[in-house]
């Protein structure tokens, strides 16, 4: 055995022993950590990537602030639009509150039960004829019930219920051509018949030809009215027509106490509920 062979044998023994020692020791995890550190230090990508990230650190923050500002601006604009809607809602609610507060101080006619309802719908083709309210049979609204309205703190005649549905009712306005109401003028005591004209104004017929009337005289519902309680304000005389020699009566034009275009809520006068014992 020559020298090289002996050296090779000893070297193999030494390398094998060292390698088996490395294999036996739990060195894999340590080597993996060392390799990771070495890769991080030597590989250019992590180093330059870190440098680039540090250099550009301010730009993403500025961009993020810009985006946040833009989002806040959009939110603010949206909130402003909602505020405008809320403002209009608030104004409407305040007006409604004022009307209802005024209505609270009113005394309903004796022997009647008050049912308040909102105006739901108005037919544009028949603006002075009828309205739809959000109360019906379930709320105790009867057919032919008188309907009153509030204007300037005064109750006035609006019309009567001509159609009752479970949750809604149709009200025939006094200004409809088919409406008629027995009324009187308190100043002179004369009674006549108020009829609708299909316009804003009403007409009161069958007044004596020799009676004198003044513009502004109030007209109230008559005790002879079949549907309406007596004494309810219908309107005021706005015009006294010239006497017609061919007619046996004279007429006056009446401006309604409750304008049809201003009606938001109405008061329906229903008969009092029957006592339980009577049923």
């Amino acid at each position: 055995m020559n020298r090289d062979t002996r050296t090779a044998n000893w070297l193999l023994l030494a390398f094998s022993a060292f390698a088996i020692l490395l294999l036996s020791l739990p060195t894999t995890a340590t080597v993996a950590q060392f390799r990771a550190v070495l890769s991080y230090l030597l590989e250019p990508l992590p180093y330059h990537g870190d440098q680039l990230t540090a250099r550009l650190e301010g730009i993403p923050a500025g961009a993020a602030r810009m985006i946040e500002s833009d989002v806040e601006l959009l939110d603010a604009r949206r909130a402003l639009k909602e505020a405008e809607l809320l403002k209009s809602d608030f104004a409407a609610l305040r007006a409604e509150n004022a009307r209802l507060t005024a209505a609270l101080g009113l005394q309903p006619p004796a022997g009647r039960v008050v049912r308040w309802a909102r105006v739901m719908e108005r037919d544009p083709q028949n603006w002075y004829r009828s309205i739809l309210i959000d109360a019906g049979e379930q709320e105790g609204i009867p057919l032919n019930a008188p309907v009153l309205g509030l204007h300037d703190g005064v109750l006035g005649v609006v019309g009567r219920v001509v159609e009752v549905n479970p949750r809604t009712s149709k009200v025939l306005l006094l200004s409809d051509e088919l409406s008629a109401l027995a009324a009187f003028i308190p100043g002179s005591g004369w009674e006549g018949l108020v009829q609708g004209q299909g316009t804003m104004r009403l007409k009161m017929n069958y007044l004596p030809v020799d009676a004198e009337f003044r513009v502004g005289d109030e007209v109230h519902s008559s005790p002879t009215s079949a549907s309406f309680p007596p004494g309810l304000l219908v309107g005021r005389i706005s015009k006294v027509f010239a006497r017609d020699p061919f007619l046996a009566f004279q007429s006056v034009e009446i401006e309604r106490a409750v304008p049809a275009g201003k009606i938001k809520e109405v008061m329906v006068l229903a008969p009092p509920p029957e006592p339980e014992a009577a049923r």
Binding site: A8, L22, L23, S24, V31
Partner: protein, 156 residues
């Protein structure tokens, strides 16, 4: 072997191994350049120099791989010892014989490495059938160049 040439061979082997493992790898196949150069070094300069180079390259491979640390070093040292002892009986002068020797040692080395994993890591580090069948071919194709480089740098 002069120190500078040995260092050049060591570093060159690492660089080429990295080159073939990354940029010249096809379908996951790559030759074990360090094993080829170890065989070439042992066949050219004997078992002592072959073992020294092989053990150093093995440690580098172990450091870069995620498996049992020391298996490549032991395997390369063994391959270098065997080749160095049998170099008188082997013909490694012509490229075909170099290719055959390279392919044979690649297979032996793969089996040995898998068995070391079975002993020390409780699992058989099988490279897969595709690699087991085709990597020796790829290594055989590269072997003449590796043997030539080793001979040029180590032949005194």
């Amino acid at each position: 072997m002069r120190v500078i040439e040995g260092a050049l061979l060591f570093l060159g082997g690492l660089v080429f191994h990295w080159l073939f493992s990354t940029h010249l790898s096809f379908w996951g196949l790559s030759p074990n350049v360090l094993l080829l150069v170890t065989v070439g070094a042992a066949a050219t300069a004997g078992p002592v120099k072959g073992q020294c180079l092989g053990f150093a390259w093995g440690l580098c491979l172990d450091a870069m791989s995620g498996h049992v640390f020391g298996a490549n070093a032991l395997g390369f040292a063994l391959v270098a010892y065997i080749v160095g002892q049998l170099r008188r009986q082997m013909d490694v002068a012509s490229p075909p014989s170099q290719a055959i020797v390279a392919a044979a040692f690649w297979l032996l080395y793969a089996v040995f490495y898998s068995c070391v994993g079975l002993v020390f890591e409780r699992r058989f580090l099988w490279p897969g059938w595709l690699s087991f069948l085709l990597d020796p071919v790829y290594s055989a194709l590269v072997a003449p160049f590796a043997f030539s480089a080793a001979r040029r740098l180590l032949k005194t």
